[in-house]
Amino acid sequence: MDLIESYQEELQLIRKPWTRVWVGIFVLLLLLLPWYAPEHITYIATIIFIYSIGVQGQNLLIGYTGQISFGQGAFLAIGAFTFGHLARLGIPWPISLLAAGLAAGAFGLVVGFPSLRLKGPYLAIATLGFGIAVYQIFLNFEVLSGGRMGMIITKLSPLFGLPRITFNYYFNFLIALVFTLAMYNIISSYMGRAFIAIRDNDIAAEVIGVNLARYKLLSFAISSFYTGVQGGLYGLFIGYLEPNMFTFMEAITLFVAVIIGGLASVEGSIMGAAFVILVPQVFSAYKEMVPVVYGVTILIVLIFEPLGLYGRWFKMRLYLRNWPFR
């Protein structure tokens, strides 16, 4: 929709001054949220931030690289329990969080290997198998999961005399912001373009000089790094971990968030994360209906708006910008 004239311009996050204004206002509103919104809303927004990290990771894999993974639940669990064990040993949270991401990333690398040989549905099943195997291993080996009673993690104590909820909000907001900016940079770099090339046509990508093995594995590793960090942050936020928090359903939720939010878009990932968190809140009186809402939305999105919420948003902006001309 924009005419890009130079590479510098391509690298810019925001190209129009007006966009800069409203994005600035939006970020400001988010920054001030704990001061005007009720506690409940702040709490939900915090969870959305945590989720948006994992959804971005999943979107990098599905939307940008075009590799399907149903094993995201496993990376969540690996990240969360790595974080839990390290935090219990008294290691400070930045190191444990990094280790959580790295552990998940390392397993992502392992899961990435089948992707070198498998495509489409077959890869989906291989990752599905991995996800379920990891869940069951955590379920059956209490050494890993901290036993039947679950694993207690000491929460962060608030700094600067802020209330706990507000502190958690800012903490997760900053981390999510860092990861979102990192994601934008990954996508607009050589790496991101290599991922997109692999998605569009892997043989052609190989021919023009993209190292297929390296970039497929890298995509898996980065994606699971993000997911692992989400797991760690979630554990730190809730203060409690058990294997049943990371079932097959959790992987499906991440997947649904990507599809509904919009494939291959960072903003879409955040919208998708908000969707999967807000729907259970809105339908809390009809818990059984939550999957129905997910399912119906998936059907509608895939048939009528394959680009998801982001696509709708994009078209709306385009319409307003060109108004009254279509």
Partner: protein, 293 residues
């Protein structure tokens, strides 16, 4: 040795359930190249339908037949109302797989809303406690029945696909869709029929599985995933492969549970998936995957 035989026999009964599920998945994959993630939930819906009918004091034979028809009707309706419009809008293969995932979520939610999430026991004409002895091996009436129905359904299905005109049309459609259309085969109805048959096989498996487990909206999840494993093991586009894969998986899992560790039993199937996909992606009897990059 007795112990080995005992495990193998009980594995065969579970294996025939997996085989039925795998057969349905393979049938759909073969004809439409779609992995049906809603298979488990369609099965659950059918089984719950039978459960409701039994609660209305209907005769079990009638209830079961109605449930089988209900399951296949569900699949056919999904095919016509969702997949066909999606294909008209040129949905990708991945998109169609995700559509089945969406259907699965919808069915799962509806079943838990109307059926309740409390596990219930499923009344069944065959008993789990009445046992027969063959030499030193014990087999329950229910396992025998399950194994029998698995073999019988597979045989009927084989005859349908290999010996009838309808089966010929199904094979033609799965082999080459445009060519089949040119030959005047009503491919759309044939594909709808394949979906219906697959769901029917799934519901059959669900009906025979429900008495051994407790009936709740998630009871089919694990057998469904194992059916997937079995289909992969045998080769996703091979129907005999699905049956062989199901039986092998059932026996192997039962032996692993008996001799290695019971905690390891459920993980085993998923490790098999990964190993098979890494070593021989086309499965034991499949023929696909000749592409190289």
């Amino acid at each position: 040795m007795t112990l080995f035989l005992q495990y193998a026999i009980s594995g065969l009964a579970t294996g025939s359930i997996y085989a039925l599920v795998a057969l349905g998945l393979a049938l759909i994959y073969r004809s439409t190249r779609i992995l049906n993630f809603a298979h488990g939930d369609m099965t659950t819906a059918g089984t719950f339908f039978a459960f409701t009918l039994l609660g209305l004091n209907l005769h079990w034979g009638l209830a079961f037949i109605l449930a089988l028809l209900f399951g296949s009707a569900l699949a056919i309706v999904f095919y016509f109302s969702v997949l066909v419009p999606a294909q008209r809008r040129e949905a990708t293969q991945l998109g169609q797989i995700i559509l089945t995932l969406g259907l699965g979520l919808i069915l799962q939610g509806l079943v838990s809303y109307f059926g309740g999430t409390v596990p219930q026991s499923f009344p069944f004409p065959l008993s789990d406690t009445k046992i027969y002895r063959i030499g030193s091996v014990v087999i329950s009436q229910l396992s025998l029945g399950t194994f029998g129905i698995g073999l019988f359904a597979s045989l009927l299905f084989y005859l349908l696909v290999q010996k009838t005109r309808l089966g010929l049309a199904m094979r033609a459609t799965s082999e080459n869709l445009p060519a089949a259309q040119t030959m005047g085969i009503p491919t759309r109805s044939i594909l709808a029929l394949s979906w219906g048959l697959a769901a029917l096989l799934g519901v059959l498996a669900g009906l025979f599985l429900a008495p051994t487990l407790l009936l709740d909206p998630f009871f089919m999840l694990e057998p469904f995933l194992k059916g997937f494993a079995a289909a992969i093991l045998g080769g996703l586009n091979s129907l005999p492969g699905a049956i062989v894969g199901g039986l092998i998986l059932g026996v192997a899992e039962s032996l692993a549970g008996g001799f290695v560790s019971i905690a390891f039993k459920n993980t085993f199937a998923f490790l098999i998936i990964i190993l098979v996909l890494l070593v021989r992606p086309e499965g034991l009897l499949g023929t696909e995957f000749k592409e190289r990059v």
